[in-house]
């Protein structure tokens, strides 16, 4: 039995409350938090690149806490097997009889943090990404649906690449967005230190309220797809993605999946910001997160010292 339909205004207010609640534990990183929420509302998965110790686990766990979602974490290592993630069949004795039962892996959660995904072997990566894409797991001929909403946040460490298995382009394309977590400013870092080393909390993370149910998230996900977008903005977004395939500085451009992702995330951002329609500003804001992991720069761009974000910003200005 589904919950009664909640008013759109109420849902948008609750999303604003989610941000407030997460803000109790996470200082700064507003753009990354917004990207994370956009990804959840768009029913996608995110790739997060950050150095260690920047609070990505805390952020994802907090989002799960305030949204009443199950949370699990997978620490990827080279010896991790696909079944360690998806689950495996085990023999269980009950009443003197033995039977095979499927023991669900950590992927059966609403929010899955796959830490350092590039340390897992390609086979394990493929199993994780396939489950992420299909929203289901197949084991011993049986198919098991993953819980909904389902959201994977996979992290990559940009340093210490020795012994890693970088995700191939075809795999990174499955992530809706790629977020880059940077170091906080001095003031933010001071606030973080004060928050987690003060005597009041005893070092524990501050308490947060659950303000959004999983049913409400599902409703929002359905509403996000209904957010109207003007034809010209949609066409411009498509032109932007196509421009990545024609730009001189780009060796490998983005796929049509990127066009869909760009429009969908723009809709989610518009909803998150309490608007009823997509603005070009939404597309601009989501262009880098949606495209940065889907394009490969040409040697000319690297020679000129251009980053992927620089090239995307130029393309946004051009279209």
């Amino acid at each position: 039995m589904s919950e009664p339909t909640v008013d759109i205004d109420t849902l948008q207010q609750r999303l604003a409350r989610v941000r407030e609640e997460v803000g109790k534990r996470i200082i700064g990183q507003r753009e990354v938090l917004e990207g994370l929420l956009v990804c959840i509302l768009a029913d996608g998965n995110a790739l997060l690149e950050s150095n260690p110790g920047l609070g990505k686990t805390t952020m994802v766990r907090t989002v799960a806490d305030v949204t009443d979602l199950d949370f699990s974490r997978v620490q990827n290592t080279p010896d991790l097997m696909p079944s360690d993630i998806t689950g495996t069949e085990i023999i269980r004795e009950s009443g003197g009889e033995r039977e095979f039962v499927f023991e669900r892996g950590p992927i059966f959660a609403n929010v899955v943090l796959a830490d350092e995904i590039n340390r897992a072997t390609p086979k394990t990566q493929a199993a994780l990404l396939e489950a992420m894409q299909e929203k289901q797991v197949t084991a011993a001929g049986e198919t098991y649906d993953l819980p909904r909403p389902f959201f994977v946040l996979a992290t990559q460490n940009p340093i210490d690449q020795e012994g890693t298995y970088p995700l191939p382009e075809a795999q990174t394309d499955r992530f809706l967005i790629k977020l880059v977590l940077d170091y906080p400013s001095y003031e933010e870092e001071r606030d973080i230190v004060n928050l987690y080393t003060g005597g009041g909390s005893g070092g524990a993370a501050p308490a947060v309220d659950k303000v959004l149910t999983r049913e409400e998230i599902k409703q929002i996900q359905a509403l996000v797809r209904e957010v109207p977008i003007a034809d010209d903005i949609r066409d411009r977004a498509i032109r932007l993605v196509r421009a990545t395939r024609e730009a001189e500085t780009v060796d490998f451009g983005a796929s049509p999946r990127a066009s869909m992702g760009l429009v969908l995330t723009a809709k989610a951002r518009a909803f998150l910001r309490g608007r009823n329609h997509v603005s070009w500003e939404d597309v601009e804001a989501m262009a880098a997160p949606v495209l940065r992991h889907r394009i490969l720069l040409d040697f000319r761009a690297e020679r000129e010292g251009l980053s992927t974000d620089d090239v995307i910003a130029d393309l946004v200005d051009e279209v």
Partner: protein
């Protein structure tokens, strides 16, 4: 449950209808603005062309005045009861009006070439994206909850928006000022001679002097030939002249008798009449003496 769905559908249809109505109204406002701009530009064109053609002495290859079609005259007589004394119209005015009509048609066509709703969006940038999105959503018959919510928002915004932004008020004001200036110049030209207006020699233009045109042989306006009454300059030489008062002017008696009778009547002066400096008119006015003479002759003929 079905009642709730039916209500939602009805609301949805109502919102869509209202958006369609609003879009229709925006298009109507766009038409109004296009027509307003075109009308003032056409009026200015008409006046300017008329003025220029008049100053240049008419439209080349056209007579100074063109006959008004009988159909129009009859229509005027029958509908308005107006009978024109002179069933002709200035060719300058006709050409001006024709060019004005052309400007009107071209400007309206150019102004409505760009979709009127887009023009409204450009004039109200804050409303642009949402209105454009709503327009596209209505066209695609989107009746989702989010679309309905968008329609509500857009309708509320439209109540606060104005189509005045479509009208370039500064441009309209400048054009109206120009129309006023050209109108004043036209009136000035019609009332005052071109030579007096400093625009040229009236005797050369013919039309401006009201009748020296070689083609025109009818009666002409005397005051337009002689010009406005004016103080004539005094002469520079004093001449003494004595006029003897002789004769009564009755015509029956001799000169001596008449003179005596006049003196006796008390009307005669006891002294010589004091002379005054003779006045004269300007040369160009005197040149029209032949025409004045012709006038007098014709008046006499009419009297006889």
């Amino acid at each position: 449950m079905s009642e709730v769905t039916a209500d939602a559908d009805a609301d949805d249809a109502s919102e869509e209808r209202r958006i369609r109505r609003a879009l229709k109204q925006i298009r109507r406002e766009g038409w109004k603005v296009a027509v307003i701009n075109a009308v003032i530009d056409a009026a200015l064109t008409t006046l300017v062309v008329n003025l220029v053609a008049t100053v240049l002495g008419g439209v080349p290859s056209l007579p100074a005045r063109l006959p008004i079609p009988r159909v129009i005259l009859r229509a005027l007589r029958e509908t308005a009861g107006v009978t024109l004394a002179e069933p002709t119209v200035s060719s300058a005015a006709v050409v001006g009006a024709a060019l004005g009509c052309l400007v009107f048609a071209v400007e309206v066509a150019l102004r409505i070439r760009r979709p009127l709703v887009e023009q409204f969006e450009a004039a109200n940038p804050a409303l642009g994206e949402s209105l454009r999105t709503a327009r596209d959503a209505v066209r695609q018959d989107r009746g989702s909850r989010m679309a309905r919510r968008l329609y509500e928002g857009v309708l509320a915004d439209l109540e606060r928006a104005s189509s005045v932004g479509l009208l370039d008020l500064r441009r309209v004001a400048v054009t109206v000022l120009l129309i006023t200036a050209v109108s004043v110049a036209t009136i000035h030209l019609a009332v005052v001679d071109i030579s007096l207006a400093g625009l040229g020699d009236g005797s050369e233009t013919g039309v401006q002097t009201g009748g020296t045109d070689a083609e025109y042989t009818g009666l002409q306006d005397g005051s337009s030939i002689l010009g406005e009454p004016e103080d004539v300059p005094e002469g520079s030489e004093d001449l003494d002249a004595t006029i003897d008062t002789s004769g009564s002017g009755s015509g029956d008696g001799t000169d001596a008798e008449s003179a005596t009778a006049y003196e006796d009547s008390g009307f005669g002066g006891s002294a010589a009449v004091e002379s005054q400096r003779a006045g004269f008119t300007e040369r160009e006015q005197l040149e029209d003496a032949a025409l004045i003479r012709e006038y007098n002759l014709r008046i006499r003929e009419n009297d006889e």
